[in-house]
Symmetry: C2
């Protein structure tokens, strides 16, 4: 039986997943026994299309490419908004890939709650719901016997949530410490090559790594959302946004960089959560790390995280932290994990 997927939001990441699903259709079937149909796509600016028998996804993508819209596609029902799509289509997995809102998590939070309440699995790369309402959503999913998966919310397809929840299961994670924002790491890397902060930021903007208003990255909000997700998902911290100390990289000067270099150190924007005396606290702030620290060697837009556990010492995972294909892939790994559990017994 094929999973019936509905995309809520269909920007870069959603389209990235769609392309991967099409490219890998045969491999997913033969290697994992995973089959899929996309029954609905609803995007607030591009329109919406639904067919209970499944859309011709490559047809939809090609219409989208030509017209910029989904409702130019010849078949199916048009115009259903996100909540109607979640409620009234026959989708059994909702792929929530709308924009992140770190203040209210909306509209994604309503999308996720509605889907889980109706007994539909949710797979998302949206940071909002996982950062602001993880416990509630996890409990709701459990109650309804479905999955809420969010691997792509932290380091795109680089497996972090799955390493923390599964690979390190049985150990107690005492500290997580990482470079969770590629834009700021790129800026710091360029400053080390001699640029000022402003020059490096402009270069990051030119390359599409930083937004015109770069605050979400350079003021540490993006890293904050991610450490919040990790602390709450992997360390059962139940922290809120206001509990996380936050300082960005905007005050770092070329002379700070130079002074660190003389001391054999390198500035990084470090997101960290640690358990001390039974309590988990978290911070995002620039730190000058000694070069022997594996995180100090992570340059450019690459991300990395070190887990410190009671049984294993330090384990570091380094990989891409963003990207159309990379984040689309994160959603696929979540779909495949759901499939592994649901198909257990007939697994290959």
């Amino acid at each position: 039986v094929a999973y019936r997927l509905a995309f809520i939001g269909f920007g870069t990441v959603g389209q990235g997943l769609a392309e991967i699903l099409l490219d890998k259709r045969e491999a997913l079937r033969s290697q994992y026994g995973f089959e899929w149909e996309v029954v609905a796509i609803s995007d607030i600016t591009k329109g919406a299309v639904y067919s209970e028998k499944g859309l011709d996804l490559s047809g939809v993508l090609s219409v989208l490419q030509k017209t910029g819209r989904l409702d130019g596609y010849s078949e199916g029902i048009k115009g259903w908004d996100s909540l109607k799509t979640i409620r009234e289509t026959n989708a059994d997995v909702i792929i929530e890939v709308t924009f992140t809102n770190i203040e209210t998590a909306e509209p994604a939070l309503s999308h996720v709650k509605t889907a889980l309440s109706l007994g539909k699995h949710v797979v998302t790369s949206n940071k909002g719901p996982a950062a602001l309402a993880l416990e509630e959503l996890t409990n709701l999913a459990k109650e309804k016997g479905v999955f809420f998966k969010f691997e792509g919310a932290v380091m795109s397809g680089t497996p972090l949530i799955s390493v923390g929840l599964n690979g390190l299961a049985g150990s107690e994670i005492q500290e997580i410490r990482g470079i969770l924002n590629g834009t700021t790491n790129y800026i710091l890397t360029e400053m080390e090559k001699g640029k000022t902060y402003e020059e490096a930021l402009r270069e990051a903007q030119r390359l599409g790594y930083a937004e015109a208003v770069p605050d979400a990255d350079v003021e540490g909000w993006d890293a904050l959302a991610k450490i919040l997700i990790l602390a709450n998902a992997l360390m059962k911290a139940n922290l809120k946004v206001k509990d996380v100390e936050r300082e960005g990289i905007t005050k770092i000067t070329p002379s700070d960089i130079e002074e660190a270099r003389r001391e054999g150190k390198r500035w990084k924007l470090i997101a960290r959560a640690q358990r001390e005396g039974g309590k988990v606290t978290a911070q995002v702030r620039p730190q000058a790390l000694p070069l022997e620290d594996p995180l100090a060697q992570v340059m450019g837009v690459t991300n990395a995280l070190t887990f410190r556990t009671d049984l294993l010492g330090g384990v570091t995972v380094i990989g891409p932290g963003a990207g159309r294909k990379e984040t689309g892939f994160a959603l696929l790994t979540d779909l495949l994990e759901i499939h592994r559990y649901l198909s257990h017994g007939s697994r290959s």
Copy 2:
């Protein structure tokens, strides 16, 4: 219901797992719903003990510590050998932790085959069976509806098999490249500090990192077994020992080290498998890596592996590669993975 465990072999790693199981009994129950009894332990030199109702594991450990033997324990049936223990006890999970034999994989291979044939799950850190007979054992496990798990065979508890099979599921792994032997990496690290090969080897022996006859490490056999496991498990390569090119580190001289340093490089014993033209090949050999390579920064006994995939670029995992607690923990993560699948629906 509690899993009924039998240890086949009870050296450092088996005792490491036993200690972890005792320390974490309550946490495993409350966090994962995982309960266990050890019903049997059979070791070729320490004797054997079996009780169908479960042994008092801390009592057995304390007798072992005092007497060096298992059969001094006051209760239970004594003297059953490994195969009788696998066949005739009521264990439903066999923990195979006898010594690695890279030529025939015996006696571990017979242990694993017997257990799987009888419908018992197998969890092992033994490299032999996974390196020499992975396809056969995987098929046998599938046919019998049980699990064959071997996370600890490659990088102790550092999650590699689970990252490759689960975290990266859906991507095609095109290359794996890593430092899979801590002893040789320690020796190369010490040589960089100015020691000769012989001095560094003696130091490694003094610290217990290298054996009196160090060939398994320094000639690359240990790394070969591990890359074979990874290539066959994660890249469906079906390679044999003889298919893997192998060169150790015994010919590396201080002047090689110095020359590499002048070129901004560092010698590492690299185990590698890559897919080219549909065919997977593998090698173990020393290479001078540029310092920008994440593997070049991995010093001492630490291990690391870089996965290169079609969808994600490079993902590197760095962590411990050996150790009593670390490898014992690998066995625990395998037990918990089995439990996650078997208990799906009632998972917490």
